[in-house]
C-alpha cells in the first residue's frame, strides 16, 4: 500500500522553457539509469532479501525513487510548457510530438521506450545489491552529464539535489551489502555458500571470507 503526498521532495524552480535540455532530461524519467528503473528495481528485489535491514532499505529507497520520478516529470513538464510543434521539431522532439504531443512518456534521451530489460532480479541478495550500487553510480554519472548541459540555475539546483541522493543511496546499499554478507556467513540462509566454501578451501588457500571482505 502506498499513500500519495501532495508535495515534491525538493522544490523545482524553472525560469524559462528549454526544449533541448528537456529532450535529454527525459532519460532520467524512462531511460536505463532513470528513476522509473530505480523504483521498479528496488521495490521488486525486496521480496528475496534475506535480512531485515535490506528489506527496509529497498522499500524506503524504492519509494523515494518514485518521488524523484515525480521531480523529473515536473521539470520536463515545466520545460516544455507552451512549446509549439515547430519548436518541438527544432529541438529534435518532432518524433515525440507525433507520438505523444507534449505528454510525458517513459523514454530515454533518444526516444527509446522503457524496457524491463534495464533491470534485473537475481534472487541472490549479493548479486542484486551489487547491481543496485552500480545503478546508483550510473544515475549519479547521468546527473553529472545533465548538469554539464545546462546553465539554468533552478535546473542545476534540482539536478544537484538528485545527484546527491544517488551518492547517499549508494552508501546505504554498500552498508546493506556488508550486512547481507555478515548475515549469510554461517550459510544458514544460503546453504550453497557452504558448498562454495568447500570448493575454495579444497583447491586454494583463499577462503570466501578473503574474497568477500
Amino acid at each position: 500500500m502506498w499513500i500519495y503526498k501532495k508535495m515534491l521532495q525538493h522544490p523545482i524552480r524553472i525560469e524559462k522553457p528549454d526544449l533541448k535540455i528537456a529532450k535529454f532530461l527525459i532519460t532520467q524519467y524512462g531511460g536505463p539509469d532513470g528513476e522509473l528503473s530505480a523504483a521498479l528495481r528496488y521495490l521488486n528485489q525486496r521480496y528475496s532479501m534475506p535480512n531485515k535491514q535490506a528489506k527496509a532499505l529497498l522499500t524506503d529507497i524504492g519509494t523515494e525513487e518514485l518521488g524523484h520520478l515525480e521531480m523529473i516529470a515536473t521539470m520536463v513538464h515545466k520545460l516544455t510548457k507552451g512549446a509549439t510543434p515547430q519548436q518541438m521539431i527544432a529541438a529534435g522532439l518532432g518524433g515525440h510530438y507525433a507520438d505523444h504531443e507534449k505528454a510525458l512518456y517513459y523514454v530515454d534521451a533518444n526516444g527509446n521506450p522503457w524496457t524491463a530489460t534495464y533491470i534485473q532480479a537475481k534472487g541472490d541478495a549479493i548479486a542484486d545489491l551489487v547491481e543496485d550500487i552500480a545503478a546508483e553510480e550510473k544515475a549519479r554519472a547521468t546527473y553529472e552529464n545533465l548538469i554539464n548541459m545546462t546553465d539554468d540555475p533552478g535546473l542545476i539546483d534540482a539536478l544537484k539535489f538528485l545527484r546527491e541522493r544517488e551518492v547517499v543511496h549508494s552508501q546505504r546499499f554498500r552498508e546493506a551489502l556488508y550486512l547481507v554478507r555478515e548475515h549469510t556467513k554461517g550459510g544458514r540462509y544460503y546453504p550453497e555458500i557452504q558448498e562454495t566454501k568447500d570448493i575454495f578451501t579444497n583447491t586454494t588457500n583463499i577462503t570466501p571470507d578473503d574474497v568477500l571482505d
Binding site: Y4, K5, K6, M7, Q9, P11, L57, E70, V168, E175
Partner: protein, 88 residues
C-alpha cells in the same frame, strides 16, 4: 490569496518539505543502523515537528495526503493545485 499570505503559505510548505526530507534521509540511515540512538532521537524530533506543522500547511494548500492530518474540507484535494503546478 493575498501576496503576503501567499509568501507565508509557501514558506510553511517549504519548511514542511525540508522536514519531510530530513525524515526520509534519517529513515534510510536507520534502515542500516536501526539502533543508533542519536539518529533515533533526530528521527523522532523531525517527525514530531512535521506532524505539528502539517495542519498549518493544509489550511493554505488543502489536504497533503489523501487521508488528511487536519479536518480540511475533502473537496480541496480536487480543487487545490498539484505539486507540478505550484510555483515554489
Amino acid at each position: 490569496m493575498q501576496h503576503a499570505q501567499m509568501e507565508k503559505a509557501y514558506a510553511l510548505l517549504r519548511r514542511c518539505m525540508e522536514l519531510e526530507f530530513a525524515a526520509v534521509e534519517i529513515r534510510l540511515y536507520l534502515d542500516t543502523h536501526p539502533f543508533d540512538q542519536r539518529a533515533q532521537c533526530d528521527f523522532k524530533r523531525v517527525t514530531y515537528q512535521c506532524m505539528l506543522l502539517k495542519p498549518q500547511v493544509e489550511q493554505y494548500f488543502g489536504p497533503l495526503e489523501n487521508f488528511s492530518f487536519s479536518q480540511e474540507n475533502p473537496s480541496r484535494w480536487v480543487e487545490e493545485l498539484w505539486p507540478w503546478e505550484l510555483v515554489y
